[in-house]
Symmetry: D2
Subunit: 379 residues, 4 copies
Amino acid sequence: MSRTLTYGMVGGGPGAFIGEAHRKAIALDGSARLTAGCFSRSAEKTREQGAALGLDSDRCYADYKEMAEAEGRRADGIDFVVVVTPNATHYEICKAFLEAGIHVACDKPLAVDSAQGEELERLAREKGLLFMVTYTYTGHVTAKYIRDLIRAGEIGPIRTVMAEYAQGWLYNENDWGGKQGEWRCDPAQSGKVNCLGDIGTHVENAVAAMTGLKIKRLLAKMDVVVPGRKLDDNDQVLVEYEGGATGVNWSCQFAIGSDNSLRVRIYGAKGTILWDQERCEEITLIGEDGISRTIRRGNGAVTPGAAQYGRLPAGHTEGWLEAMGNLYDSFTRCVAAKADGTFTEDMIDYPTIQAGIQGLKYVEACLKSSENGNIWVTL
Amino acid sequence: MSRTLTYGMVGGGPGAFIGEAHRKAIALDGSARLTAGCFSRSAEKTREQGAALGLDSDRCYADYKEMAEAEGRRADGIDFVVVVTPNATHYEICKAFLEAGIHVACDKPLAVDSAQGEELERLAREKGLLFMVTYTYTGHVTAKYIRDLIRAGEIGPIRTVMAEYAQGWLYNENDWGGKQGEWRCDPAQSGKVNCLGDIGTHVENAVAAMTGLKIKRLLAKMDVVVPGRKLDDNDQVLVEYEGGATGVNWSCQFAIGSDNSLRVRIYGAKGTILWDQERCEEITLIGEDGISRTIRRGNGAVTPGAAQYGRLPAGHTEGWLEAMGNLYDSFTRCVAAKADGTFTEDMIDYPTIQAGIQGLKYVEACLKSSENGNIWVTL
Amino acid sequence: MSRTLTYGMVGGGPGAFIGEAHRKAIALDGSARLTAGCFSRSAEKTREQGAALGLDSDRCYADYKEMAEAEGRRADGIDFVVVVTPNATHYEICKAFLEAGIHVACDKPLAVDSAQGEELERLAREKGLLFMVTYTYTGHVTAKYIRDLIRAGEIGPIRTVMAEYAQGWLYNENDWGGKQGEWRCDPAQSGKVNCLGDIGTHVENAVAAMTGLKIKRLLAKMDVVVPGRKLDDNDQVLVEYEGGATGVNWSCQFAIGSDNSLRVRIYGAKGTILWDQERCEEITLIGEDGISRTIRRGNGAVTPGAAQYGRLPAGHTEGWLEAMGNLYDSFTRCVAAKADGTFTEDMIDYPTIQAGIQGLKYVEACLKSSENGNIWVTL
Amino acid sequence: MSRTLTYGMVGGGPGAFIGEAHRKAIALDGSARLTAGCFSRSAEKTREQGAALGLDSDRCYADYKEMAEAEGRRADGIDFVVVVTPNATHYEICKAFLEAGIHVACDKPLAVDSAQGEELERLAREKGLLFMVTYTYTGHVTAKYIRDLIRAGEIGPIRTVMAEYAQGWLYNENDWGGKQGEWRCDPAQSGKVNCLGDIGTHVENAVAAMTGLKIKRLLAKMDVVVPGRKLDDNDQVLVEYEGGATGVNWSCQFAIGSDNSLRVRIYGAKGTILWDQERCEEITLIGEDGISRTIRRGNGAVTPGAAQYGRLPAGHTEGWLEAMGNLYDSFTRCVAAKADGTFTEDMIDYPTIQAGIQGLKYVEACLKSSENGNIWVTL
């Protein structure tokens, strides 16, 4: 890469977990340098955070619109923006940066509804801009390896997929999970959905990214279980994919003992693949001989398309930040190629805005099913 | 016990897996001695098998009805009969022995439908006879320990239960699983149900036995997946229990790499319990502190009501036969107590005919749901 | 088999764990029937136990010598004797039965020292009698499978073997482990060795049985660790095998959290095999590709010579009693073949008296090494 | 922190794994910025690498001595240097920077022998400079948690420690492991030791860091196993610690299937702790009740002194780079405190030069033991 890319951030003020995580993930490979930001609705906090992060004060913006316009105009303006604000504001912010001609990386969920998502997609397409939605988990080397195995027909046509994302942090009716939990459980801030939007969409995305399957229809049971809660905290979804495969997607926030247990089990006509993001350095592959093979990142069997993202030798464990870093690795290569004029579509190896829209449609369909007595809803 | 009990067997001829397994399980503790049998529809095979097993030839019967009557009349007649014939014949055989005043242990499924089951139950009640349905897996010490933990409120009210039984042996469209698979997959022999009746009912029974939960309603998706098959081989069932808990029950016969993977995960308001019958010597118990505790059979924490069934010190692994043996341990103690006049209902610690009827009702409700477009069916 | 074999037992009175375990293991397959016994030094207890086990009173003997002579004379005398008495008495008892022309199965350790062992071996050879020493763990299907893999060269020449047997039951200085622990920890009853003889010899035997390696020399550190104890409870042994492979054998009785953790890890020039008796239904096999393969009993890959011992389909767990039963399975087939005149040496698939002698030599060499400042001792 | 620290690097040229790893680990938290370097013996490569890393050209030095002097003189000179050159050069390079008054972080092994190490220690002490030796693995949150548990007496006095570091990458006699393997296996570059110095010292350090135990004496068997090799690739070491605890340390480079398997098992009078760096997000803690507790990073039970290093919520996996980053986290806080005049000794929570010297003494003692027929050598 001839020069280091630069980026700006909207959101990610002092104490915000996800903004800091994005910055660390990008810093991991040094593929882009933070040069501008609007970190908070409070101009003062933005200034503080900017100073702490070593930004020039004239690139600490009180307002995201001002930032989009100013950076769009600068000769040395940011190459891309990272949007890590509350969900309800994603749409307007992303729109502003797209209109200013700036590539966008936006935290999931992409927007409030799929209509917003599709408008952003149209805009990005018209402007010829890149748009990543940061579904972290598919960034793992092992997740990419699974995708490659399935594409290569290793386990034959897929028959059924059992996928789940269980957490336990919101199990206690007297503990709403602090700041992180409170907005998620508050209809005023989260709309009609909590658990399904927060983690259920990762289930949907992981299955889609690994298997390439598209949901034809689904039947969802979204339950509000912990006393006092107003939004779903347990979602059990029957899925039918195009081509006939089926599946169950489960997401839950009161599964005591589960920290961040995203697991996917894929059963094909010729084999099975098991994946657990908390054991993200390995996959289990079972062939028709019924022998369970554990294959770890760094092993020679890992496909080159996946292995390229590994930074460390086998057994030197990589984790969540590396997965996020892998998304930015591909994204920044594409951004640089756009600048160089060498970009082609097949370079994209990150979750695109289409994946983000699928997530929103998944949520919408689940809500429709659940609100209507658990009926089948076609996507 | 003042004298060793005696038993007879119907079914279990040469080469029959399940009959031999029952005999081995009973032999393990020597709690009863086989003295009579009608092992096959072929009188010759019965004679052969009887001789191989050291029976007197006059107690090898060509016909089960004759056996029931003769043994019922003998002063030294069998104390109980073990019925391990094809499913469709359970009803008539059990009925004959009940009418002859003989206690019954019958392999699951109890009968072809719940009406038959209820008739047998009525008959057993009228005659004051014991009736066990041999759901093996709840015989494990660890399964009983889980039941005791839940009864004692260890994990609080149950919120959701994820249960499954996955096997892979019928994954191959060109391999129907030999004799064992062929009858299961044949509508003429199995009726309308294959996988759900064969292993799905173990899921239902395991959850019921461990949690005490009763199903209020369910919504089932029973699929015929492997090409060429005519009966279900993949069943995904949403369940609502009385009291509001929910769950997903999954049973599957084409999950490559799964041998006999019956697993139950129980999420309560105060804790979680995980159980995997292929790791049947241990449970995982997680409390509100989020720490996963692995507790093995033989550990001092295991409740006395469960621990009493262990034969070997901790780490000297027990397995499937011991689980089956545990069912017979309780059953034979009850049979002996009936003879002694010391029997009381609270001695029963084996799966009763009511459990067998529940299994049949579960299958019937799933069929109704699945045949009607996956609607909710109240039990 | 034309007729059921009969056996007698010396030891195994009321409450004795190991005697009951042998009886259960034999009963599992019904390959022999108990018809005579001298269960205790107390004639009364022997009568009681004999009655409880359904023996004829004239075959309940007050004295093992009387039993050996009487059974040796009877036309319907026992085919073999099972010796499950305290270790120090094995030699004289086994000798008496050999002299009476009766095959012997003796619990480990075979005798007090290797000189006794060699005398018994000579006697058995002269009399043409079979002699099994019941090292249970090598009876597991998976242990036999590993032996077959290594014989077939699957992992190439062996380079190093890390083997261990850790238990925790004697960790507490204030708890000597009840009756089972007290005699083991008492020099008056156990001689100079506790842990190494009790479980360390299982390590030696497991490695020998699986790999076929013979120990050339060893260097042992036998420690008395728990305060108040007088005999070793922690043994760390460096081993050199003929041919140049090396290894570490560890046995320990105060490893809190270890129930019965016998594990063997075998590293060859072309692969690795891992085995854990508490997960005795599976092995891990790793080839030069570095992929870990978990292969479970019942899988098609298991060699026929090992698979033949399985009683239940894959996933229907077998355990310790089945392993012990497998020893008796081979032993009784050999005993029957001796009677039929069809016996050949290659039928032997159980631990012989030579294995028992090796165990005694192992202990003797370790003692010599440890008593002399941890020097190398050649076997 | 009022200002971002700056650092320089010696070594870590294009393609060097460990230099890049150090840079990524420091970048993770942004606790220091790279501003100077002598990345290679080739001035050209240093310039190239400096440019790629965005350094000013006048701070890219052709010679490390020049760099030490120049940076020592500059008002804005580097706060510390990171030394990641071949082992044999550590001593002279570290010395130069210490003499220039610059704090040092040096990759392990610290030097060629303990005499060199002690000289560096003396120099650092005289100059009042900090000196870290980057034993990565003790940086894991879970490693620190174990240290805290043991200090708090959670498992009582330690009785025995089984520790090991197994790798498989050098198993093949025809594959010397590329550049990384070739220098390790070459006596001209590595001196008398390969495996023991490379990974065996991590075993020694991990045990020391977690338990606080000091080695009193040891008995080592260092073997050259893979055909054609000239230096040890399998080391089995018996250890006696001050206070009476014992242990076995094993390091191996031909253990096929082991990537980077550093494991420590610590058995105390009241409990057991198990740790596996490839599962570095969790520990297993077993108390006198024999129940195995798996406690994951992020759990409330983790001690504050360990938990403070976590960056991500539980279940968002951290790995090797984070462990390395944790070393730098503490080190840079100490460096900053030195600058501020707020430093106190108890702030040190990274592996010091004393740990590095212990590692060298461990190697020297093992060599002496092994070369003299595996005798006890007192440290």
